[in-house]
């Protein structure tokens, strides 16, 4: 069982202040909120990139945390698409064929379109099997079939998965929903 628990946490970043008291157990969680509400800030705090100003963050059964930002380019380090996959310690051949990128293995990842770069980075992140995976706007830049494949991959994953998203129609049934409003992170819906 994996869980990340935020106990009376206060996160401050620039003009933004967020409060939350939440437990994110195994499975898929989605955090929605309007533009500028603090989704990316919460993502960084969950991934350990920002230390809360108050409160505690506890991890249960979570060793490896992985964060993927909205812009795939910040994650690209490989000189070729295949080298990029290998840099995530993932075997390139089978991953690239499942992503529809087998014929681009020797290309510079910077020559891919933004949507293809996004598929590549998300595919690597999913294959890297982190206990906690935090994805900031993962559906942005993906076409509709790619969004549906991502939805299935997120549901099939072990561990705790958190997506920050505007595209809430792409969330599979069973997703635990949270919403940021007025500086507070709250559970949403039934």
């Amino acid at each position: 069982m994996t869980a990340i628990i935020l106990e009376r946490v206060v996160i401050e970043r620039g003009p933004l202040r967020l409060e939350g008291d939440l437990r994110l157990g195994p499975g898929l969680h989605a955090v929605t909120g309007r533009v500028g509400s603090g989704k990316s800030t919460l993502a960084l705090a969950l991934a350990g990139g920002i230390r809360p100003a108050a409160g505690t963050v506890r991890l249960e059964g979570i060793g490896r945390r992985l964060w993927v930002g909205h812009d795939p380019v910040v994650h690209l380090t490989g000189g070729t698409v295949a080298a990029e996959v290998a840099s995530w310690r993932v075997e390139p051949d089978s991953l690239l064929s499942s992503l529809g990128l087998a014929d681009r293995a020797r290309d510079d990842p910077f020559h891919l379109s933004l949507g293809m770069q996004k598929r590549l980075v998300l595919g690597c992140a999913l294959a890297a099997r982190a206990d906690l995976l935090v994805l900031d706007e993962p559906f942005a830049s993906l076409d509709l079939p790619a969004r549906a494949r991502l939805e299935r991959a997120l549901t099939a994953r072990d561990g705790t998965t958190v997506v920050m998203t505007h595209a809430d129609r792409h969330l599979p049934p069973g997703t635990t929903r949270w919403r940021i409003e007025g500086g507070r992170v709250r559970p949403e819906g039934p």
């Binding site: 533009v35 603090g38 933004l114 505007h166």
Partner: protein, 214 residues
């Protein structure tokens, strides 16, 4: 009219295409050439072959505005007010005219409350809104919005569709994966199979096929 004929650019081939004035949604799966089409129509990319004319002029002789698919790559300056003033300053306008354009653009894009902020503190979606305002401040003839709606919530997007249409730009080319935006646009162009896969209702109908494929 933006008239394309015999155009070959990267993986995209378009024998003949006419884009009327107004808001045009450009749709298609990843890697079908949406960004390439926008780049070619704004003069950022010269096609390998063929000609593109915007009301009879090559794209590089026509003022263009560009908002990137990646919100971090659209902004040059560290302050929002400097970003919005930059088109006027680069054009050598008077300070009064520069400020008037910046303020007008901020109002149309819904970016007024960000004016005194540092770009560093803006979220991804807010950067998109500011980038749209900066593009409007240059009063472009062709405004290209490259999938920037991917980072916007529904309410913000619904406000920006009329803002883009009424921006004063004669041609607004907006690449998107959003069906409602495509439906709301004046025209739609779908790319696929290395070229244009359909226009108008045929482009909109492809969303059904893509959802079935999903």
């Amino acid at each position: 009219m933006i008239a394309l004929s015999g155009v070959r650019a990267r993986t995209l081939s378009i024998d003949s295409l006419a884009i009327p004035p107004g808001l045009t949604a450009v749709v298609g799966l990843n890697g079908t050439g949406k960004t390439t089409l926008l780049e070619a129509c704004t003069g950022l990319l010269l096609p390998d072959e063929g000609t593109i004319l915007v009301d009879g002029l090559p794209p590089r002789e026509v003022d263009a505005g560009w908002v990137s698919a990646s919100p971090d790559r659209s902004l040059l300056f560290s302050r929002v007010d400097d970003e919005l003033a930059s088109p006027g300053r680069f054009a050598g306008l008077s300070p009064i005219e520069t400020a008037a354009r910046a303020t007008g653009a901020a109002e149309r894009a819904g970016a007024v409350r960000h004016l005194s902020r540092s770009v560093r503190t803006l979220s991804g979606g807010e950067r998109g809104v500011v980038a749209l305002a900066a593009a409007l401040a240059s009063q472009p003839t062709v405004l290209a919005l490259d999938e920037f709606d991917g980072f916007l919530d529904r309410e913000t997007l619904d406000d920006l569709i009329p803002a883009a249409r009424d921006s004063g730009a004669r041609f607004v080319l907006w690449s998107t994966h959003d069906r409602e935006l495509t439906r709301a646009a004046d025209h739609a162009i779908a790319l696929g199979g290395g070229g244009v896969a359909g226009t108008g209702a045929a482009a909109l109908a492809l969303f059904d096929a893509w959802e079935r494929a999903a």
